[in-house]
Symmetry: D2
Amino acid sequence: MTYTRQLIDTYPAEINLDRAQLAEVIDALSACAQACSACADACLSESADALPRLARCIRDNLDCADICAATAAVLTRQTGYDARVTHAQVQAAAQATRTCGDSCAEHGETHAHCRVCEQACRETEQLLKDLLPQVEPSGQGPSRPSQAAPQT
Amino acid sequence: MTYTRQLIDTYPAEINLDRAQLAEVIDALSACAQACSACADACLSESADALPRLARCIRDNLDCADICAATAAVLTRQTGYDARVTHAQVQAAAQATRTCGDSCAEHGETHAHCRVCEQACRETEQLLKDLLPQVEPSGQGPSRPSQAAPQT
Amino acid sequence: MTYTRQLIDTYPAEINLDRAQLAEVIDALSACAQACSACADACLSESADALPRLARCIRDNLDCADICAATAAVLTRQTGYDARVTHAQVQAAAQATRTCGDSCAEHGETHAHCRVCEQACRETEQLLKDLLPQVEPSGQGPSRPSQAAPQT
Amino acid sequence: MTYTRQLIDTYPAEINLDRAQLAEVIDALSACAQACSACADACLSESADALPRLARCIRDNLDCADICAATAAVLTRQTGYDARVTHAQVQAAAQATRTCGDSCAEHGETHAHCRVCEQACRETEQLLKDLLPQVEPSGQGPSRPSQAAPQT
């Protein structure tokens, strides 16, 4: 059991989402951010001949790493949950993993690190899409409890 | 002239956005991320009596700081621009600054740091909303040039 | 095998460090950063009675999360390795995990999330200390190869 | 007056450092992190002919951006100040700005963005060195107050 799951299980208040699903998404986002940072650096160490074709891939790697890390941080916080922020950030991460996965796919035959990174992006994108309906802001009322955390 | 603007002016390829507007948004996002980190810490040092009411504000500060920093990083990158990622991330930042500004507004009368932080959030939110139409993915074609950067 | 290890194994140039050890440290830093972010938020959701005593723990959690994430990023990059930067950043992370582990230890009997987070900090601190001699800048010469990456 | 300074001036407890100096260092770190992110991307958009020589510069840019951002975050937090963490992290940032400034200096004649980024790194390195003696952990006693924040 990862620390992520253990921390979710010891969170002292209510959590609006399924705890197993939440832990899985957060761990996927962290792993994807890490894979993207590593793929950017691996691209950077490719031969002078190959490097120029990888410039966009590096850019998409860096975006995806930053966005996945921010999204993991937002999902990690349960205090004063606001569905509107969560939903918008999860959407941005779904797009970033899609774009980066597509970029890596263009180089997968030539560069093994792009193949691995594409896999991390695709897995994370799928988990984010599965999460989106769970973090949909409700149309019928406030998306966050009116009572401020912490509980007294 | 900030380093942000100087770096934009020395960028060696085309930029799809107005350079002055882009520099202004990036600098506002950086300043807002910084203000939110500082406001979270200032809240944390309030009296034991006041602190519990500030828990949600701290959470919103931390989210806003992370999201603004990631958005500044995405907007800073021009290589292989993808409007879909940019647009989704700018939307998430507009929501985060809105939510955090609202949270700070609840405490502005009592805590001066929340007043300052609210101002940073409101300013940034407005700049992000002004930027949104400029980063709208086109409905009629690919939102990113088909030619890979860098230019040869 | 984590993506971290897979990316290290597909890195296209030489790596100055033991690959298994490097992957282990990076994964520990990521897990520790995640645990610290979660512990900060769990503290924030504790009762109004408990929260004020946890303010310093939250601060140490946030520092440790930021420093571990930056250190993981530095260790992930192999292109143009500079032992002086790596060594200084690993030292900072060893101190941050020490300080945060000590803070969490003060609350471990009362709060289960602090117990879990302390464990993540202690493990990571030990791995960082084991790594320090491997990233020591050499006294006898340049700590980085004189030849610029990438290889031609 | 930047938001950084306004937030420092509205911090509700004691600050161990000179407030003007602290604000100046934090703002320099933020500006330097931003300049380094932008320089990395500008390098990435250079011609296929120039890009391979810039790989190490990009790597140093990315390290410097991550380390400066983490250092700004640590310096921003005043709650439960621990000189040992602050000092170690400031040292890492001094080294990162030194290394990145040196890398950019190698390309300053050819690339204007490297000239601007070198200036940001040199300025920040100097401010960090000036700060180091102020954050030295005392040899004669605990480097952090024995009383936990927040004040009651």
